[in-house]
């Protein structure tokens, strides 16, 4: 559907970002196919968030090129905005608004019709089991629910591509499992998902992953393939091997 030259949902070619002397993202190249769940792995400070910020139009690239949903990030950043959803590393809902008000706010921002908004609000509340909490301030609901709600809100306008920046940090394993179910549902519905994480077990849930170390992509492919190539039992092991030379806090919270 999208007029992308390659038909890919996300294309990055030699994408680079420097901050002064520091090269935060160093010539990364990757493609993500529509409907794919693509994992962006890396230690803290590896450049994942900087890459996402360039792809979402928050940050101008210093070099290389990239397109999202067929639009060039450098020249068509406004067109991209309508087609993407974004859940930032930090919590992206308003604490002092109720569940329903948060949904309505984003419905307004993305210009949903009243009937679309009504239907989708109902669907989200039912899906998350939040129907009784719709008038509760977001501040008062448990973190796991907040995260699931934030994801649902990021998907509210049915974007072609959704960027999730460490969506599961600080969430218990059961909720993380439920969270990933939501991600799969979105992917099945055709949304491309780019998700960053430092939980290595979550890498196994992705169709493909890339491992970033110091701004560069050091490994990319399907998790099973990568493990076979490297002769390791888990992504965790592969990651530690790749990241050890430059990063200290490689194991994250896992």
């Amino acid at each position: 559907m999208s007029p992308a030259p390659s038909g890919e949902a996300i294309r990055a070619h030699d994408l680079t970002r420097t901050f002064g002397e520091f090269m935060a993202v160093d010539h990364i190249t990757f493609d993500v196919k529509p409907g794919e769940v693509f994992g962006f792995l890396g230690a803290n400070g590896a450049g994942k968030t900087t890459a996402i910020r360039m792809l979402t139009g928050l940050l101008a690239p210093s070099g290389g090129e990239a397109s999202v949903a067929g639009h060039d990030v450098a020249t068509e950043s406004e067109a991209i905005k309508q087609d993407i959803g974004y859940m930032s590393q930090r919590f992206s809902l308003y604490d002092d608004l109720t569940v329903r008000e948060n949904i309505r706010l984003y419905g307004g921002i993305y210009d949903l019709t009243p009937s679309e908004l009504r239907d989708r609000t109902r669907r989200i509340l039912d899906r998350l089991g939040l129907a009784r909490a719709e008038r509760t301030l977001v501040r008062a609901i448990p973190l796991g629910w907040k995260q699931k709600l934030a994801l649902s809100v990021a998907l509210l306008h049915e974007p072609k591509v959704v960027f999730l920046d460490e969506p599961t940090s600080g969430v218990d394993p059961v909720t993380r499992r439920q969270f990933w179910e939501l991600i799969y549902e979105a992917a099945h519905a055709g949304t491309t998902v780019l998700v960053t994480t430092h939980y290595m077990d979550e890498a196994e849930y992705c169709d493909r992953i890339s491992i970033m170390v110091s701004g560069r992509i050091e490994a990319m492919g399907a998790p099973a393939e990568l493990k076979k190539q490297a002769g390791v039992a888990s992504i965790d092991e592969l990651f530690v091997r790749l990241a050890r030379p430059s990063a200290e806090s490689t194991r994250g919270a896992a």
Binding site: Q82, Y86, R104, I109
Partner: protein, 367 residues
């Protein structure tokens, strides 16, 4: 438009749900008017009086008695020469000096003008003025009791102010207070509410959305325009009801100028928030950049005319200076836009300049 309404509604919820801040915003203006009103009050009681009487006689003694009997004045010093007064004024021992000219009684009796020099400490211009009135009243009371003589005017009081000769009257604290309250609400609160979204990360979510930067800005500041307007009304209402501050000119014009000033303040707030990323820094920036100049350099508390020339130049870039001049003109002199167009033009220019600057720096943040 739908999106903008959504943002406005959201911002209104933020404001309404932060009860404590809202209470502060609503009650602060009222409390301020009342506090300032009473502390800069023109109440004249127990005024410390010095008498300089080179040649005491029946007339001067009678007038001196009247001062002591007035219930307002208390004679704390009687000097022979006016040179002695300097030290008394400097040490704040006396607040008013009444000085009879030599041979006062004889001149009065012979129908010649008899002069009295009334010197008052005008550090607090308001009280200075009020004391002068009371002194004049006492002298006139004495004069009225004299048998009618040939001359029309016999006692000639001459007024002089010490320390603050221009006697910029602060009866007019209300305009300055409005400027300050609006700076707090519009500049400070806007800066805080924008940096709060940066801190919590919700700003990123808004920036990734199809919202235009101007929509985000308008959505953030418009509710504060509303609160600011309500505060102007509150200050004016209390000033009128409690302190009887006059409103000689057009209320509509004043409200329009007030709205203009709120816009200046909002633009300043946006500028501060665009250049800071934490609420703490924004708070300091807003305090230093807007409130202090408003308080110190607008003529609100310290008359601009008595500032050093260099500082007077600095006041030209303080928006409150122009607003205070406008508001005083409208409220106290009853003048209209024909006399105030210059000040108004300055404020309009400032608003445009600041809006452009803040929109620019706001954009830079997204890149």
């Amino acid at each position: 438009m739908n999106a903008l309404w959504g943002l406005l509604r959201k911002e209104t919820y933020h404001i309404l749900r932060d009860r404590r801040t809202l209470a502060v915003l609503i009650f602060m203006p009222i409390v301020q008017v009342i506090l300032f009103g009473f502390s800069i009050r023109t109440d004249v009681r127990d005024v410390r009086l010095a008498i300089v009487d080179p040649s005491p006689d029946a007339a001067t003694l009678a007038i001196r008695d009247r001062f002591n009997a007035s219930g307002v004045f208390r004679t704390v010093a009687v000097a022979a020469r006016s040179a002695d007064l300097d030290a008394l004024f400097q040490m704040d021992t006396v607040q008013v000096a009444v000085e009879f000219e030599p041979d006062f009684g004889r001149r009065l009796a012979s129908g010649q003008p008899a002069r009295i020099l009334v010197t008052s400490d005008a550090t607090e211009p308001n009280s200075g003025t009020a004391r002068q009135f009371y002194v004049d009243a006492v002298i006139q009371g004495y004069e009225a009791g004299l048998p009618r003589g040939p001359g029309a005017v016999r006692i000639v009081p001459q007024a002089r102010s010490r320390f603050n000769p221009t006697r910029e009257s602060t009866n007019l604290f209300v305009p300055g207070l409005m400027a300050m309250v609006l700076m707090i609400i519009a500049a400070l609160m806007t800066a805080l509410s924008i940096t709060r979204e940066k801190e919590t990360g919700t700003m990123e979510t808004l920036l990734v959305s199809p919202l235009r930067p101007w929509q985000i800005i308008v959505g953030k500041v418009a509710p504060y325009l509303g609160i600011g307007f309500v505060s102007v009304l509150a200050v004016l209402g209390v000033a009128r009801m409690v302190f009887n501050v006059p409103m000689r000119g057009s209320l509509t014009l004043l409200l329009a100028e007030g709205t203009l000033f709120i816009l200046v303040a909002l633009a300043l707030g946006i500028l501060v928030s665009a250049r800071t990323s934490s609420q703490r820094v924004a708070m300091l920036g807003a305090l230093m950049g807007t409130m202090l100049p408003t308080q110190m350099l607008s003529g609100f508390i310290f008359p601009i005319e008595s500032m050093p020339t260099a500082l007077q130049w600095v006041t030209y870039v303080v928006p409150a200076r122009w607003f205070v001049a406008i508001a005083r003109g409208i409220m106290l002199k009853g003048i209209g836009i024909t006399y105030l167009w210059r000040e108004t033009a300055v404020l309009v220019a400032m608003t445009l300049l600041l809006l452009v600057a803040s929109a620019k720096s706001f954009k830079v943040r997204l890149q």
